[in-house]
Amino acid sequence: MVLRMRAYSIAIYLFLYAPIVLIVLFSFNSGNNAADFQGFSVLWYGKAANNRFVLEAVTHSLIVASTSASLATIFGTMAALAVQRVKGVVRLFFDAMTYVAIMVPGIVIGISTLIALVTTFGLVNEMLTAIWPGDPATAPRLGMGFGSIIAAHTLFSLALVIVIVRARIAGMDRSLMEASADLYATPWGTFRQVTLPLILPAVVAGFLLSFTFSFDDFVVAFWVAGSETTLPIYIFASIRRGVTPEINAIGTVVLTISLIILFSAQLMLRRGEKPKAKAA
């Protein structure tokens, strides 16, 4: 029975990793046919690294991911700390919104953000043109772009950070904060010296997961990107144009980056759990 189960588990691991291994393997293909392997080479990595559009897309993705993850981590941690202290309607609002932000499909978030922003920008642009003193054609205009992608990504990541940090706060020993206050620490001092070190692993993990989400997201960015291109948008477009080993090379790099980020996140969460295990 145990043997059969182990065999089954190995089969599942093969199922999970075979496609990934295949991508990595074919990224080193020297031929330009994606389907048969003709020899080892790093040709496609060179091609991808010299492709202006790829570099641009990677830069955009890094900017969007780091900005939205930073905003979400700061605002989300702030909210997670404060939401414990409120009751009634405000508490209900935050709990419901966090639930809705995570539950509503990305595609609906993308579409609703798009039509809301397009409508708002339409009105604002009309007003701007009306009050613009110079030539109406030179009036400043609001449009979709980095700002809208960052704002939309921050929404989902915010909910993610709130959930992760609140779970951490719930598992925390409250008597430490009380002791700190009893020993005449100011609220800010208690936060800096007691609370923050305790929740830091969850905060860092929240940041890394938000970064990964944003870096990987296609479905939301697709709607609100305007004319900007992020890496997943570029990859999606190239898949539709036809498969080349260049995508495999880009994919391998992306997989490696997300693996590194993911393992750091795991490591952070584990490190944070150690003192608790000792106490128990």
């Binding site: 588990s9 935050f94 595609i107 997989l255």
Partner: protein, 318 residues
């Protein structure tokens, strides 16, 4: 000296204040009131940015979708103000997308569950504790790596020159896999299996193994003790896992797009078509609202029905 002890010099007392012991009491009250007020201010400031984000980028956009869903399509596409329920009455025009989603999302969830449970059971109960954590991380890792690239890998595997050519070479006849409901199903199970394994693993790992031993001591065979002890106790994990996977499958766009190739399409694909090709924003909004309502209703009923098994206590995104 005696006099000074009884009442402090007048300069230390403000006009209209009581005796000194009273004034100490008074300052204490105002200090705690001040601290209270300050703490309320701090709380408000801490919540303000997230509240703004939720209102401006979640509540307002969803409200716009609700308003648009009752509007009319402008001649050149987009939205024109109106109040009509025609868009909702027109929903059967997209019946195929609803049918595909409502059949394949629950089916994908069930297949995911059946595939994930034995693995979670093996990891939590039978595997060596030394490598247990490593094996678990190995399951979760793919979920957090590029979804697009992983789905694209299946295009490659299921495409004409992948698995079907191997099957043909083995002399098992000609098959077509890509752009069929089966390929979409494979993609869905592949994409969301880790999300199912994790909560089941958590609830199985917490289970007191002595209960299984007790069942065996009392003469129960392994199969029966699994059905009567292990399975009911892992219910919270099963319920949570099914919910997470179902939610994500309902809104799926990429998997049907890449592995269904326009033949097997979901509500998500219908939305892209409506908003970008036919530019019928009001009808698209009605479809989007229906998707959200179906999801909210299903999940609420599901949680209500399964509450007695202790679901939702360990919703975890990691």
């Amino acid at each position: 000296m005696k006099r000074a002890a009884l009442s402090p010099p007048p300069t230390e007392r403000g006009p209209g204040e009581g005796p000194f012991y009273f004034s100490i009491f008074m300052t204490k009250t105002t200090a705690s009131e001040q601290a209270d007020r300050r703490s309320r201010w701090v709380t408000t400031l801490l919540l303000a940015p997230s509240a703004f984000w939720y209102l401006a980028l979640l509540v307002a956009p969803l409200a716009v979708v609700v308003v648009f869903s009752f509007g009319e399509r402008a001649a050149a596409g987009g939205y024109q103000a109106a109040f009509t329920i025609a868009n909702y009455l027109n929903l059967p025009a997209r019946a195929a997308a609803f049918r595909n989603t409502l059949v394949l999302a629950p089916l994908g969830t069930i297949v995911c569950l059946l595939a994930a449970y034995p693995l979670a059971y093996y990891l939590a109960i039978k595997s060596s504790p030394r490598i247990r954590l490593f094996l678990l991380i190995l399951v979760i890792v793919p979920f957090w790596t590029s979804f697009l690239i992983r789905t694209y890998a299946w295009m490659f595997i299921l495409g004409g020159r992948g698995l079907p050519s191997v099957i043909e070479w083995l002399g098992l006849g000609e098959v077509r896999l890509i752009n069929t409901p089966l390929s979409v199903l494979i993609g869905m199970v592949y994409g969301y299996l880790p999300l199912m394994v994790f909560p089941i693993f958590v609830s199985l790992e917490r289970l007191d193994k002595r209960l299984i031993e007790a069942a065996a001591d009392l003469g129960s065979n392994p199969w029966r003790s699994f059905l009567q002890v292990t399975l009911p106790l892992s219910a919270p994990g099963v319920i949570t896992g099914c919910m997470l996977v179902f939610i994500l499958l309902m809104g799926e766009y990429l998997i049907p797009q890449l592995l269904g190739g326009g033949k097997v399409f979901f509500i998500g694909n219908a939305l892209v078509d409506l908003f970008l090709q036919s530019r019928n924003w009001p009808f698209g909004s009605a479809v989007a609202m229906s998707l959200v309502i179906i999801m909210l209703a299903t999940v609420t009923i599901y949680l209500r029905v399964t509450r007695r098994y202790g679901a939702g206590r360990d919703v975890s995104l990691l």
